[in-house]
């Protein structure tokens, strides 16, 4: 998608969140959250429902007053600043477009409040609409727009006043799958173009992986891990993150002076063992391979029996029972040589896992 270079890049601001806590009765919606959002980055808050994502975003926008903690935009402490003075753009989950105004009036609204001259405001609103590919839609009423168009108007309204921080709370959740995927890429492009610090909320892991520079995984109001998508997937900090992002089977491991072993066999590991906490071995289905002959030296081997085999078109899914009875899932592409290697149900199978993919995670309390 081509994006018109019209709205000038605004100067982005970093966000610093320190020990922000919010309780509702006994529930910790936010539990001493420390988070640094870098200037100009696209950061996603990811977590299951009720984990505190919206609460954190609202604390940034100023709609939720934390019990304590500090929030700074650049050098400015904002935690006690009312929302209308924070100058952050925000796209609401339901868009919150004003139904009594036209598209153009909605987009020009923040400019009007900032006392921008009428003609200029009209021009800038139209440019913002063009940026989201809705040029010429200004005179429409809100109820004459489709869901995707509304989403874009909301976006145009949030960026038209060139805020240095943009907040979005599940802005795509109301859209159908196809449009959602399309908009994900479009939002990503827009961010590249505008360069404002963006905090994005979703509970869709794929969306988070697709769009973000970094992802903050939140659970029970606590920050679980903050990393780039690739690292988050490959090196999850704990069982919760590993489980929440992607699929996986967890196997118990024995730890002894710097090495780990499964079922008596020492494991070749990607990284040194962290012995301060109990650890588990993470097996991602697509990282396991069905071995034909002898394994290469850098590969850990797991022996088992095929329990079930499912053909899924572009991939297959195999469930295998290991010697100790643990069941693991294996996924692979259905190319010819792989398919030929797969034993029948009930037969013995050897599964290989490359050292770089052999990751231990902190055993979860969940």
């Amino acid at each position: 998608m081509a994006v018109t270079e019209t709205v000038p890049r605004s100067e982005a601001l970093p966000i610093t969140i320190r020990r922000v806590t919010k309780t509702y009765g006994q529930v910790f919606a936010l539990d001493h959250v420390d988070l640094d959002v870098k200037s100009g980055e696209f950061l996603t808050l990811l977590g299951p429902s009720g984990s505190g994502k919206t609460t954190l975003l609202m604390a940034l926008a100023g709609f939720t007053r934390p019990d304590h903690g500090s929030v700074s935009f650049g050098d400015t402490e904002v935690v006690r600043m009312p929302p209308h003075k924070r100058d952050v753009g925000m796209v609401f989950q339901n868009y919150a477009l004003f139904p009594h105004m036209t598209v153009a009036a909605n987009v020009a609204f923040p400019l009007k409040l900032r006392k921008v001259a009428k003609a200029e405001a009209r021009e800038r609103a139209e440019r913002a609409l063009e940026t989201v590919q809705l040029g010429g839609y200004g005179e429409r009423q809100i109820d004459q727009l489709s869901g995707g168009q509304r989403q874009r108007v909301a976006l145009a309204r949030a960026i038209v006043f060139e805020p240095r921080i943009l907040l979005m709370d599940e802005p795509l959740s109301a859209l159908d799958k196809k449009l959602r995927e399309h908009m994900q890429i479009e939002l990503r492009h827009l961010h590249e173009q505008l360069g404002m610090t963006t905090v994005y909320v979703t509970h869709d892991q794929r969306e988070a992986l697709t769009m973000s520079d970094r992802i903050a995984v939140i659970n029970h109001g606590r920050l679980m891990q903050l990393d780039e998508p690739r690292r988050l997937y490959d090196r999850p900090a704990n069982r919760f993150v590993a489980d929440f992002i992607g699929e996986g089977t967890f196997l118990p491991v024995e730890l002894s002076n710097g090495s780990a072993a499964y079922a008596g066999t020492p494991l070749k590991l990607a990284e040194a063992v962290n012995e301060t906490a109990a650890q588990e071995l993470l097996l991602r289905p697509e990282r396991l391979s069905v071995l034909a002959g002898a394994a290469e030296p850098e590969v850990n081997v797991f022996a088992g029996k095929v329990k079930e085999l499912v053909f899924q078109g572009e991939s297959f899914l195999m469930y295998a029972a290991l010697a100790d009875g643990a069941e693991v899932a294996v996924r692979g592409a259905t190319n010819r040589d792989v398919m030929e290697r797969i034993p029948a149900v009930g037969a013995d199978v050897h599964l290989g896992l490359h050292r770089d993919d052999t990751v231990l995670v902190a055993a979860g309390e969940d």
Binding site: F63, R86, M90, A96, L113
Partner: protein, 307 residues
């Protein structure tokens, strides 16, 4: 649209528009079925609403001896008091509506901001007057406001004023009483409209840089307007036909059409004189409402223009 257009099989179907007539027949039949379902209600409306008005209209053209005549309308032109009574009626209704808006809107806003439980309790207090009789409420105002009533006595005792102030048996008293009685009719629809305004709109406004005051005026207020129009309309129309309160609190100085209607039945011993007043009131009301709706629509267009 003529029924014949939809008659089954009337038109030969072109090859490239399969089932065009059949589908059109279905649509027609559906509409007829709908009409059939509605007809009892329509009939009821016709009998209960339209026929009395038609009868009223007919009676207003009958003279005492039963012959057709315009005498009841001529009398309204000849006697100066009729024009003044219509003027008073509209004046009282307009002022009451305005007072209800001035008091009721902030009240509804306050209620809409309360937590649900507190709002429910407060709403009941607003509605409480509905459970006492109109006459009792009106006389309560008389007791409060009259020359040696509670208010004047207290005020004189406290030294607020030395002589009793005329608070009742005039326009002031009428407006106080009518506003009190009409207030719930305004508060309820406005409250309903306010409750249905999504809080996110206000958050969005605030996020976009609107101070609480401008968020209220630019977002909350326009979104509550439909409720306000509905409430104001109900109050205005109810006021036009009001009888008890202006009789008791107006002291004979605030003469409204409804009062003249009963007087005319007594005086002329015939429904025609009263019917003619009803017909003119109806016509003036419709005219006012039409003008108001035109004006308000214009308003909305203007509101969007500078939005």
């Amino acid at each position: 649209m003529a029924v014949a257009d939809f008659a089954p099989g009337a038109v030969a179907e072109p090859q490239d528009e399969p089932h065009a007539t059949g589908l059109r027949d279905d649509a027609f039949r559906e509409r007829m079925a709908m009409l059939g379902l509605c007809s009892p209600a329509l009939l009821l409306v016709l009998v209960v609403l339209v026929s009395p008005v038609a009868w009223l209209f007919w009676l207003s053209f009958l003279a005492n001896d039963g012959s057709l005549s315009l005498e009841h309308y001529e009398r309204m032109i000849a006697s100066k008091s009729y024009a003044r009574i219509f003027w008073t009626t509209f004046q009282v209704s307009t002022l009451t509506t305005m007072l209800c808006i001035l008091i009721g809107y902030p009240l509804a806003y306050f209620l809409s901001q309360l937590p649900p439980r507190a709002a429910a309790i407060c709403l009941i207090t607003v509605l409480l007057p509905f459970w006492t009789s109109l006459l009792v409420r009106t006389y309560a105002w008389l007791v409060l406001l009259q020359r040696k009533g509670l208010l004047n006595n207290w005020a004189i005792e406290l030294g607020l004023w030395d002589e009793p102030v005329k608070l009742v048996h005039n326009m002031t008293g009428t407006l106080i009483g009518m506003t009190h009685i009409m207030l719930p009719f305004l508060v309820l629809p406005v409250y309903g409209a306010m409750k249905s305004i999504d809080r996110d709109y206000l958050k969005a406004a605030s996020n976009l840089g609107a101070s609480p005051v401008s968020a209220f005026w630019q977002v909350f207020f326009p979104l509550s307007l439909p409720g306000l129009f509905a409430g104001a309309l109900i109050v205005f129309v109810l006021c036009l036909g009001f009888f008890v309160t202006p009789v008791v609190l107006g002291g004979g100085k605030v003469i409204m059409v409804s009062m003249r209607i009963t007087d005319n039945i007594e005086l002329f011993f015939n429904w025609g004189a009263a019917s003619a007043l009803g017909v003119v009131l109806l016509a003036l009301t419709m005219g006012t409402l039409y003008a108001a709706s035109r004006l308000l629509r214009l308003d909305r267009i203007l509101g969007e223009g500078n939005g």
